[in-house]
């Protein structure tokens, strides 16, 4: 009996990510959710700009590649064109929390019935390790070589907390993929976000804390430890908003 195999919603294309980069795990979790809900045939994905720019090569579903930060707007157009389709975006922190903040906030405020997978690894990976909107205070990057100085460049953006304040947001949860337990929780959250969309329950966003061993200058295992020790304290895991669960409880 097969206990674990590659999900069908992933193509056979080898992932281009660096060794130990957890983008691959998150891709797999998205694909597992698509398989488990049996929605591949009606799912349309929106790839963004950043390390995950090639996402359209990896998911076995119709895909469109959006300009930097614009994925939620493109997804809005796709969803409004045919609300029976399941539409998701896959975006990194630079794409979603910096250049695409307006598109993110307003898609959430509209309660757009889409699923956003937000990969937060606190750095710009594709361009070679610059400071991201989510880089931690003091974090050394190519463009914060003396460490992120919050007095001059400001503070990191906490997207889940921010979106949770909007009435339009349906479901927002922060998860991590640095160990088996967290990956399993992340899987549940991502599947729930897609299920919510199939039920017409509005905007959901799953923020996934992810590693970037290459640009963090760590080993893959060291990166998972760094995430545990540095990112999770600043970006606490958990459900930040679950409108329907809250309403059901009332």
């Amino acid at each position: 009996m097969i206990v674990f195999e590659k999900p069908k919603a992933l193509t056979d294309a080898p992932l281009h990510y660096c060794p130990g980069c957890t983008h691959g795990i998150i891709h797999r979790l998205v694909a597992e959710a698509i398989d488990s809900l049996d929605i591949a045939g009606k799912t349309i994905g929106v790839a963004s700009v950043g390390c995950s720019v090639f996402a359209y090569n990896y998911f076995n579903v119709d895909m469109v590649q959006a300009a930097h930060g614009r994925a939620p707007a493109v997804a809005t157009g796709v969803k409004r064109a045919d609300p029976s389709k399941i539409v998701f975006t896959y975006q990194g922190d630079g794409d979603l929390a910096s250049i695409g903040t307006a598109e993110t906030v307003h898609a959430a405020a509209r309660g757009e019935n889409i699923t956003v997978i937000f990969v937060n690894n606190a750095i710009y990976g594709m361009t070679g390790g610059q400071m991201a909107p989510t880089s931690l205070p003091g974090q050394v990057t190519q463009t914060s070589p003396y460490g992120r100085d919050v007095n001059t460049v400001g503070y990191p953006v906490r997207i889940c907390e921010l979106l949770a304040t909007l009435d339009g947001t349906g479901y927002v949860e922060r998860v991590a993929v640095n160990n088996v337990k967290n990956v399993r929780n992340a899987k549940k959250a991502i599947e729930k976000a897609f299920r919510r969309q199939t039920e017409g329950k509005g905007f959901s966003l799953i923020e996934v804390l992810s590693t970037c061993p290459t640009n963090w200058g760590k080993t893959p295992e060291g990166a998972t430890e760094w995430l545990e020790q540095n990112m999770i304290p600043y970006y606490p895991l958990g459900v930040y908003k679950d409108k329907y669960a809250e309403e059901a409880a009332k």
Binding site: F4, G20, N179, V183, R184, T224
Partner: protein, 68 residues
């Protein structure tokens, strides 16, 4: 009988599976080099495997299939 197989040529030798294995029975091959130029992960003692799939859960490249 628990069985773990690796699609070796896709492995990038990151070692996340090794760190996740509760039985400590995975390692990177010392002498083998795959198509990508990495030392791929391998199982040293299949008989001790409990098919927990922790390794596959942490593998970013879907290299691992677990059977029981």
């Amino acid at each position: 009988m628990a069985k773990v197989t690796f699609e070796k040529d896709l492995c990038k030798g990151c070692g996340l599976c090794i760190a996740a294995c509760p039985k400590g029975i995975l390692s990177l091959s010392k002498d083998e080099i795959n198509q990508k130029g990495h030392h791929p992960a391998q199982i040293d003692d299949q008989s001790k495997c409990i098919a927990c799939a922790f390794c596959a859960t942490m593998c970013p490249d879907c290299v691992i299939t677990v059977e029981k």
